[in-house]
């Protein structure tokens, strides 16, 4: 587990995580400051930004003092110089999730944040081109939200009514 970076805001909680050197829990208010601190601490790369919709799993384990919200944005960071890997989990909000974009710090998140916007409808404040990336521009809804149906093909059993 890594030491807490010097510039890290006080209300960001650092815990141990599976297969990494630390998980930071942030809120939209201190997310950008937390990532700034990480960057100053030698994390050169932001590998990925992804979203999770905790609609059906709100009771997940979170450290004390972190209020669970429906949407979570997770950002993975890698330090090549220190050979460390951390991630930041942001409680992004319930109805209209919105967090700061990391584009000014890590241009690599351009596509990833667009994907999170496309799939979850999370708004990234400061992103230069927040358009859909995987879905067509006129698509309605955000497919990876838990309340977005998958659709299904009915299975026909022997006794069931036939197609005719």
């Amino acid at each position: 587990m890594i030491e807490r970076p010097a510039l890290m805001p006080d209300d960001v909680v650092l815990t141990e995580g599976t297969s990494c050197d630390g998980v930071f829990f942030a809120s939209p208010a201190n997310y950008f400051a937390a990532v700034t601190a990480l960057k100053a601490d030698g994390f050169e790369q932001c590998l990925d930004v992804l979203g999770v919709d905790y609609l059906e799993y709100a009771e997940r384990a979170l450290p004390e003092g972190i209020a669970a919200t429906r949407f979570e944005v997770v950002a993975n960071f890698l330090s090549l110089s220190r050979v460390k890997r951390v991630r930041v989990r942001v409680q992004a909000g319930n109805e209209a999730p919105q967090v700061d974009s990391l584009f000014a710090l890590y241009p690599s998140v351009e596509g990833a944040e667009r994907e999170v916007f496309d799939m979850f409808g999370v708004l990234f404040d400061g992103h230069p081109d927040l358009t859909r990336i995987l879905m067509p521009e006129d698509w309605e809804g955000h497919p990876l939200r838990k309340d977005y149906g998958t659709g299904r093909v009915p299975v026909q059993f022997k006794e069931g009514p036939g197609p005719r």
Binding site: N76, R87, V109, L134, E137, T150
Partner: protein, 449 residues
């Protein structure tokens, strides 16, 4: 009614269904200088350069510029990548990559499949390196399960991963040869890859999309006589890499197309989140197999190949030499392959042997439960990243304690690497576009997922 039918008379209806609207590259007149600056290369902002994008490119009057589409079904885009290029004569001024044409919602699908079935889903993402996807996924599941994997399974996984790297790089050599006009390389690359696919078929029963690496181990033990197959395969491919040298490396036409074309600096590569051969071509010796060893990579000897200039040729040379290094690793696997189980004997994740099912009720129940409901994974979240042929492939997994992942996300190296394309293409010619897409080596199945 008839005026609503799409036809040549109603081009607007056609356009409405084929356009991506705001995702597309728009003419300079319509956008702000900031946006032009970003499309020219976002990382330029990092270097503190205060460029006026309108000032740099204008040598000719504006009417010389045009925006054209390349793709999504262009043979050199290796799938369904669509590029919108702003051309000034033959020179590329701005580029925008438009993706999503192969989006099949695999992350959503993963939420409806159990952990046992998940492997069949992830293996189809990066279809040129299925083993890499499966390994990342399996390691992520295992990190949450907390089960120990037998040593032999780890070594089999490592060997298969390296064979996969060879196969993937061979396809790359083949298609790259094709892109620069060397059709013979196309045939040779695929011929050698066939040796590996034949070995896959012998081991796993399938040539591609194997679902061979599974949570708990691998699907089947190596077949009888695998040592001979591997030795033969290593020898023949190793010899033939020197034939590629003769065919391509020293070839003046090939060198003209490669050397000095589309260079990228280490600073830009890091800022753009590039990994794999693209990052190493800039001189950054970052290879997860060496830096953060997983499987048993700390027990084998190999060199991390790095480049200097970050140009097309470096990316080519790195991949060619990585084939040789991978052969070195496979040969060590051949020597050191430990005996033992090829999968964990934990009855929770591994089905009982066929013979036991006929005689033991408990084994039958385990078998039935495993393939209907699947095993339960303790609640938690994890991210495991490994070195695929294209860079870091990662699997982020959220488990809620049930038999299906609550959320599965794949960090696809091609997705991120593709962001370098606008920067790499800028200022180059249209003909270089083809080689640049090729050396970035995106696999669209993984970009769009």
């Amino acid at each position: 009614m008839t005026d609503q039918i799409r036809s040549v008379d109603r081009l607007d209806l056609l356009a409405a269904e084929t356009t991506e609207g705001p995702q597309e590259l728009r003419p300079r007149e319509e956008i702000s200088p900031d946006e032009i600056g970003r499309e020219i290369g976002a990382v330029l902002r990092l270097q503190g350069l205060n460029l006026d994008p309108n000032a740099i490119d204008i040598e000719n009057p504006d009417d010389e510029r045009m925006i054209i589409n390349m793709g999504p079904s262009h043979p050199s885009t290796h799938g369904v990548l669509r590029l919108m290029l702003e051309l000034d004569g033959e020179y590329v001024m701005r580029t925008k990559t438009i993706i999503g044409y192969l989006h099949t919602g695999m992350e959503k699908t993963a939420e409806t499949l159990s952990y046992v079935q998940g492997g069949t889903n992830v293996t189809r993402m990066d279809y040129l390196s299925p083993i890499g996807n499966e390994t990342a996924y399996s390691l992520a599941v295992e990190s949450l399960l907390g089960i120990a994997i037998p040593v032999r399974a780890t070594w089999i996984r490592m060997m298969m991963n390296e064979l996969n790297r060879i196969a993937s790089h061979l396809v790359w050599m083949a298609t790259n040869g094709m892109d620069v006009g060397s059709t013979s390389m196309m045939i040779y690359g695929l011929r050698e890859r066939e040796l590996i696919l034949a070995f896959y078929e012998k081991t796993a029963g399938l040539r591609m999309n194997l679902n061979y690496v599974r949570p708990g181990g691998v699907a089947a033990d190596l077949p009888d006589g695998w040592e001979d197959d591997i030795a033969l395969l290593c020898d023949s491919i190793y010899e033939r890499t020197f034939e590629y040298d003769q065919l391509l490396t020293g070839q003046p036409i090939f060198r003209e197309r490669m050397i000095g074309v589309a260079p990228i600096t280490a600073e830009e590569a890091l800022a753009l989140g590039l990994t794999g051969p693209l990052l190493r071509s800039t001189g950054v010796a970052w290879d997860l197999r060496r830096s953060m060893p997983y499987l048993a990579y700390d027990e084998v000897e190999f060199d991390v190949i790095v480049g200097t200039y970050g140009d097309n040729f470096d990316r080519y040379a790195i991949r060619l030499n990585e084939i040789r290094e991978s052969i070195r690793i496979v040969r060590q696997c051949l020597e050191k392959m430990p005996a033992g189980d090829y999968r964990s004997q934990d009855p929770k994740v591994t089905p009982p042997p066929r013979a036991r099912i006929g005689e033991s009720m408990e084994a039958l129940i385990h078998h039935f439960k495993l393939f209907t409901e699947g095993f339960h994974v303790p609640a938690g979240e994890t991210y495991v990243g490994i070195e695929s042929p294209r860079g870091e492939i990662g699997c982020y997994l959220v488990a809620d304690g049930g038999a299906k992942p609550y959320r599965m996300h794949t960090r696809a190296p091609s997705f991120t690497n593709l962001q370098a394309v606008p920067l790499l293409l800028r200022g180059g010619t249209l003909s270089d576009t083809v080689t640049v897409i090729s050396t970035v080596d995106p696999v669209m199945g993984e970009v769009d997922r």
